[in-house]
Amino acid sequence: MAVSVDEAVSTGPVRDHTPSARRFGGRGRFVLEVALLTVLAVVMLFPVLWMIETSIKENRDVYAIPAKFFDFKVTMDHFKDVFVASGGGRSTLSVSFLNSVVVAGVSTALATVLGVPAAWAYSRFAVKAKKDQLFFILSTRFMPPVVVVIPIFLMYRQVGLIDTQLGLILIYTAFNVPFTIWMMKGFVDEVPAEYEDAAMLDGYTRLQAFWRFTLPLLLPGIAATAVFALIFSWNEFVFATFLTSSDNVRTAPPAIAGLIGGTTVDWGLVAAASVVFALPVLVFAYLVRKHLVAGVTLGAVRR
């Protein structure tokens, strides 16, 4: 570190008003911070970087020993394989991605459409046993999803929802609605009810008041909540594995996992599929990053 002894134990007149910053001063502190952050970044990002690297290596470079970090030939073949079947036409993986988009998108939309008005109602109205109801809603999230996978499987078999997109959409919605209600209730509580009162005195009905004044103020919250719900549905693995089997219904997570387990594993294809799978979530999270932080820190500051 670049902190000299003189600097570190300086007893001279302290010109700086923040002694701690002075003692552990400017450059030295900066260097330490960068070093620690670099270590952290390497640990966190190595798997991601390795995945990206593997997805653009040729197969013999993937298995090369010692591993090739930089001097390999870049190829886009794996990405082509993700979308195009070997004989031409669409690959089964691309069908899975499409299924993921449909299932995650529809279930998130459903959870939002059901959850936001519910959150509004719980926030605004005197409901009988409100706290108990909210606790009951939350209690559906107390157990890990795996616990209910067998009962759900048996029920779905009875009603014919096994191996259907609708089945997945319903179960994801069911898991996302409680989350949406709880998170959105926090956002609705932050919007003063007086806006709606004022709008009602100005000649709007309660629903119009909600729609025209409260809802626009809730949009950032809805965006944050929807992204969390979307990530859950998009990444969900257990239900997708148990409840679907055919290629034209299966979502991407079990489909990618299914690539592993033959006599040989095409790691390049697995890596490329994983990159394609991770991208949408990254992009979404980046777009609403401000609101995500708002969602996490909500209620920390009183209005």
Binding site: K128, A129, P192, E194, Y195, D197, M200, L201, G203, Y204
Partner: protein
């Protein structure tokens, strides 16, 4: 413009809380009527029921001669100002003012004329093109008032509109609201928990407690003859001294021997409490005529006056308001005497005024 009649209002929420137990109000046309009470007394719920924002469980509300029980807020022709100003955050002042008028579907020229008029009345000229977030608290409240004015409603409802302002602004706005109401002559129902606001603004004051009306009267009536022990303790700063008394030889005498002027029609054989205002007592030199021996516990020097807390051997220490020229040291032996007219007297068990 119109008077407001509230008859046997009762509001019970689904979770079982009774916000308003039984309220009858008769508010005259053009009156500035204040509802005063501690939080949770039902004053805001009553106001919201008049506005139509809450549906009462039972009871009738009439505005003018119209029964408005089943009318939505917009059709009651009233305007409301909230504690939190509720200006639409995405609209400039000008559009905030115009909003209720556009919702009514008035022609553009008239909207502009009325907005300008309200802006002139509330001196909003320089603020017309700003959004609420760029206005100070006092400015926001003036805009909120203007937004109520612009409708030319039959009545104004004010829900603690000054609570969020600092003390100095609050005093200014109080004057402004009173002046405005006098000028327009529009009925105004004003809810507050601040007795100073109630006393200085109201033509009449209703004191509410636990969902019931304890007393309705002019500020002076409410101050001079509180109708119940609750009102006696609520109005005035410092509040009335409640002194336990007994009737003997046609005189009112406290345990310490302090003699009060008796009001006519005193009942016998009951436990009585007299409500004595701090300014109706006097701290004197020890042994002065008609005084009882007492001791100064503490003194609050307020500049123009001194509030003495005095122990006179009664159950509670009493507070006495004296001019700042009369000075006694803490712990000094003094005399205490009653110097006012007959005080209101209450029955301890019913807590009501008996004489």
């Amino acid at each position: 413009m119109a008077g407001i009649e509230v008859t046997a209002l009762h509001k019970r929420y689904p979770d079982g809380t009774v916000a308003v137990d039984h309220v009858d109000l008769s508010i005259g046309d053009g009156e500035l009527f204040v509802m005063l009470g501690p939080s949770g007394c039902g004053k805001t719920t009553t106001l919201r029921a008049i506005a139509g924002l809450e549906r009462q469980t039972t009871g009738d509300i009439r505005i003018g001669n119209t029964l408005v029980n089943d009318l939505p807020p917009a059709e009651r022709d009233i305007a409301m100002v909230f504690q939190f100003y509720a200006l639409y955050p995405h609209l400039r002042t000008r559009d905030n003012l115009a909003f209720p008028l556009r919702a009514e579907g008035l022609p553009k020229a008239e909207v502009r004329e009325r907005v300008d008029e309200a802006a002139r009345l509330m001196r909003l000229g320089p603020l017309l093109d700003r959004r609420p977030r760029r206005l100070s608290g006092g400015e926001q409240q003036r805009v909120a008032l203007a937004r109520a004015l612009v409708r030319r409603p039959r009545a104004f409802l004010m829900d603690e509109p000054l609570t969020n302002l600092d003390a100095e602004l609050r005093a200014d706005m109080r004057t402004e609201i009173k002046h405005l109401q006098g000028e327009l002559g529009t009925t105004m129902v004003y809810v507050t928990h601040d007795q100073v606001e109630a006393m200085s603004l109201g033509h009449r004051i209703a004191i509410l407690n636990k969902g019931r009306v304890e007393q309705i009267g002019t500020p002076l009536e409410v101050y001079d003859r509180p109708a119940s022990l609750f009102c006696a303790a609520f109005i005035g700063s410092p509040p009335m001294n409640l002194i336990e008394v007994e009737v003997a030889d046609g005189k009112l005498r406290s345990q310490s021997g302090l003699v009060l002027t008796p009001p006519p029609g005193l009942p016998r054989d009951r436990c009585l409490v007299a409500g004595v205002r701090p300014e109706a007592l006097e701290v004197t030199e020890p042994g002065a005529e008609r005084s009882v021996p007492a001791r100064v516990v503490s003194a609050e020097w307020l500049g123009d006056e001194i509030i003495y807390v005095v122990d006179h051997g009664g159950q509670r220490d009493v507070r006495v308001r004296m001019p700042s020229t009369v000075r006694f040291a803490a712990d000094a032996p003094v005399g205490l005497r009653h110097s006012g007219g007959p005080p209101p007297v209450y029955d301890v068990s019913t807590e009501e005024l008996v004489a």
